[in-house]
């Protein structure tokens, strides 16, 4: 007796054959116990695979995940408090600018103290940067506008920088998200 190709029997078992391909094999199966056994075996194999028991997670699985996924990490929360990161950035920028300004003013305008050598050291390192910053700051916000209040002037400059950063983020972030968030 001529038996169908084993691969065809598997395809039949998987339901991958169309009616014209399946018909002659089914005719053969009606009279061939061995081929019937093979098809039944292939079907049982797939069924057994699909019925593989899934592992049970430990009792602490869900609570541990739900603890980690707290309100603080909620995906909806990221857009609720954008001011937090801007405030943090503002403080950082202001602190940096104050250090640069104080370093630029050390030596001549400050009385000698324990910190004076430190300021002098910083001045020698970032003196040109401090001078550039001072001249640029004068052109953006003249000292007369803040009535000589240097800290206020630095604060206003920092806020301006933040506005520029915020605008850039709004423009660029959607494009960056589009690149990263593939399924």
């Amino acid at each position: 007796m001529m038996h169908p190709d084993r691969n065809m029997l598997r395809q039949l078992a998987d339901g991958n054959l169309d009616a014209t391909e399946a018909h002659p094999i089914e005719v053969h199966l009606a009279s061939c116990t061995q081929c019937r056994m093979i098809v039944a075996f292939e079907r049982d194999l797939v069924r057994a695979l699909r019925e593989t028991p899934l592992p049970q997670a430990s009792p602490d699985f869900d609570p541990a995940v739900l603890r980690a996924v707290s309100r603080r990490n909620h995906p909806a929360a990221t857009s609720r408090l954008p001011w937090v990161k801007y405030a943090a950035a503002g403080i950082l920028i202001s602190a940096t600018l104050i250090v640069i300004t104080l370093a630029g003013a050390s030596g001549e305008e400050q009385s000698r103290s324990m910190l004076t050598p430190v300021f002098e050291q910083i001045t020698s390192l970032i003196g040109p940067l401090a001078n550039t910053f001072a001249s640029q700051a004068d052109s953006i916000i003249p000292t007369s506008c803040t009535q000589g209040n240097e800290v206020l002037r630095i604060f206003l400059l920092a806020m301006g920088a933040l506005l520029v950063l915020g605008g850039l983020e709004r423009l660029l972030l959607p494009h960056l998200k589009g690149l990263n968030h593939r399924p």
């Binding site: 194999l45 695979l49 430990s58 869900d62």
Partner: protein
């Protein structure tokens, strides 16, 4: 009626907190089965599965619903498990030592094979498969992912997915048939 995955996700993105417990319950065992097949070590697999759920939650806003949520989640789980495997340099031990097919364990050739016995043999065979094959078998037969979806999850070319699944099934069949030579074709 059961709430769809996408409805739950929308609720979470609006600020809800209870929906994720439903998604956890729905996919916990499936994600764990995937990480377990890939990592082979129970405690590490469970940690990787938890990590995957946490990462998925944080990235929910980026889920664009172009694919099924399950496919997206399995991709995160797959990548997390890959990272764990690389980090821990785990050597997956063969799982067959305690149930090696000695003569005593052999089932006598019998065409009226009990399905339950076959199922046990398939479980053993699955444990014998190399992790990259077992992972694909798990995704295809247990997680109902299509060839295309598996290619998306694993980053493998479609042809490689089909080829490996075919080979995996050949190996499974060969393992089971060792115990049931009567099923071998004589033609």
């Amino acid at each position: 009626m059961e709430q769809s995955d996408n409805d739950i996700i929308q609720e979470i993105l609006r600020g809800g907190h209870h929906g994720y417990a439903i998604l956890l319950q729905r996919y916990r065992a499936r994600v764990l089965s995937l990480t377990l097949r890939m990592i082979g070590h129970r405690a590490d697999a469970e940690e990787a599965a938890q990590d995957a759920f946490i990462r998925a939650f944080r990235a929910l806003r980026g889920f664009e619903q172009r694919a099924r949520f399950s496919t997206w989640l399995y991709r995160i789980a797959y990548n997390t498990a890959v990272t764990y495997r690389q980090r821990q340099r785990m050597v997956t031990l063969p799982l067959d030592e305690e149930h090696d097919d000695t003569d005593a364990a052999r089932i006598p050739p019998d065409r009226n094979l009990e399905y339950e016995e076959l199922r046990k043999q398939v479980q053993k065979a699955l444990d014998h498969l190399r992790p990259e094959y077992a992972t694909l078998v798990t995704l295809f037969y247990l997680q109902d992912q299509s060839y295309d979806e598996i290619a998306t999850i694993t980053g493998l070319p479609l042809g490689t997915v089909k080829n490996r699944l075919h080979r995996a099934r050949m190996e499974l069949r060969a393992y089971v048939l060792k115990n049931y030579p009567s099923l071998e074709p004589t033609h």
